[in-house]
């Protein structure tokens, strides 16, 4: 629609602005503050310039965490996106089963994240969990608290279990919006199932898919609770992703300086990705004619 120019709209925005500013700007200022200061203790601070940043850039610990994080995010994306699309293609389109599937599929999305962690913590245990017990009975040596590969496998499967439905639901909504005529034309053109997917379905859900990819990448980049509950970041620090490391630093060790510098860098990365996200979204909106 044609929007009119009206500066008084700011009054309508004001409550949101105040609330989010309070929630975001003030804390961020605190973080920036800490990132450029150091302390002797007893709440006495002195200017430290960019020291913390330099230290962080040189810190092996930070790069390790970043590396793990990128590996994690890439792996889960590589699994969740195709799997989500595949599930969406198989979902019933209408009727009783359609609603039932929707409800059952959405269930993992609404479980508090710590409970997700608890479920898999239990599920993977050899003594009391179905998965652990079965794997042990098959002779597989599976111990997620002590074995690096088992820990990674568990954390990944848990995330796939948790979030694939989001991708599937987004893709499903995209598929629903394709008019029947396209499928009919494809039949008349004697197109194979794969061609129907490649030339009709995939292009038409590309918009929603981009959003799914960006959302999942970013949310996985911030992951904290679920892996923390299951592995605590272990064994050692093999599953210590960025947020877990940061919280350890800030709330665990109270290393305010490094934590703050880390936070700023983390936040900047997120900002960059948000910008990409925003651009993609507005371009898609433009293409759809808004």
């Amino acid at each position: 629609m044609n929007k009119t120019v009206n500066q008084k709209a700011w009054f309508l925005i004001l409550p949101v602005l105040l609330l989010v500013a309070f929630s975001a700007v003030i804390p961020l200022m605190t973080v920036v503050n800490y990132s450029v200061q150091d302390t002797f203790g007893q709440n006495k601070f002195f200017w430290a310039g960019l020291n913390w940043f330099k230290e962080m850039m040189a810190s092996e610990r930070m790069w390790d965490a970043l590396g793990r994080q990128i590996a994690f995010s890439t792996i889960i994306l590589a699994i969740e996106i195709p799997l989500g699309i595949f599930v969406a293609l198989n979902m019933p389109k209408k009727g009783f089963w359609a609603s039932t599937c929707l409800i059952l599929m959405s269930l993992p999305l609404l479980i508090p994240w710590n409970v997700v962690g608890t479920i898999w913590q239990i599920f993977g245990r050899v003594d009391i969990g179905l998965l652990g017990y079965t794997l042990a009975a098959m002779g597989i040596d599976y111990n997620y608290t002590q074995d690096f590969y088992a820990a990674w496998a568990t954390v990944i499967v848990m995330d796939v279990w948790h979030w694939t439905s989001l991708v599937a639901l987004l893709a499903y909504a995209g598929l629903q919006s394709i008019p029947d005529a396209y499928y009919q034309a494809a039949k008349i053109d004697q197109a194979s199932r794969w061609k129907v997917f490649r030339f009709i379905e995939l292009p038409k859900i590309m918009g929603v898919l981009m959003i799914a990819i960006l959302l999942r990448f970013m949310d996985s980049f911030m992951i904290y609770t679920e892996p923390f509950v299951v592995t605590g970041g272990g064994p050692g620090n093999s599953t210590t992703f960025l947020s877990i490391d940061l919280v350890k630093m800030a709330l665990g060790q109270f290393d305010l300086g490094p934590a703050a510098a880390f936070s700023i860098m983390y936040y900047l990365v997120i900002l960059l990705i948000s910008y990409v996200f925003y651009t993609v979204m507005t371009n898609l909106d433009k293409r759809d004619g808004h």
Partner: protein, 282 residues
Amino acid sequence: MSDFTNTATKRGFALPKIKGNAIVMGLYLLFLLLPIYWLLNMSLKNNSEILNSFTLWPQDLTFDNYITILTDPSWYMGYVNSMIYVVMNMVISLVVALPAAYAFSRYTFLGDKHLFFWLLTNRMAPPAVFALPFFQLYSSVGLFDTHIAVALAHALFNVPLAVWILEGFMRGVPKEIDETAYIDGYSFPRFFLRIFTPLVASGIGVTAFFLFMFSWVELLLSRTLTSVNAKPIAATMTRTVGAAGIDWGVLAAAGVLTIIPGALVIYFVRNYIAKGFALGRV
């Protein structure tokens, strides 16, 4: 004559199907539900059965774990606290987001695109970055360990989400409706409440669903900002290491109970979820 055997099965337009899509859905749903079933299974056993034997369903069905939770204030208050701040957050977020989304959908003004982008970045803000600052901020204004603190903290990412989703729905309502209302003599507040809001009711429903979802599931901030009075169930659950080790039965029961509100909410908004996902604004 001719072969009518297909008549009964092929009604309506024939869409392309992947053979065995029922199998795929069945396997996927099994994958999703099995761990949840396991949790339920464990919640209905007592600890000795859990630790000493491995059974696929409870041999000694017991509701003791649930009774423990429902009678022990340190447990059930967790749920109550969580519900309180989630509902508070939903109300606050909706109240501030509705006018803002309206403004974004209808007007252009100085800095509107930048403002929208800035809001979006808050949706993407890593809670880990804000954990410590929030802790200090809310402590300093004396709101530590209150429900309102958690509700406001969650507003950080929920309000942008609400504005974003609502704006998408409001775009679909033509401006002509606003103009007709003004011609008919409605004042802005009256128009907004009595005409506009009902038109975006499904959008509000979808928004409320996502607001609930993201506030209910969050742990880090809700645990950091509370200790005793407003302790959410998530925090209670992550601190249940007693002297005898983890009380698995009660833990499982607590977990099951956290799934129920979510299931109910999905059920009530199931018809609107598809539309919300279709806008791609999750």
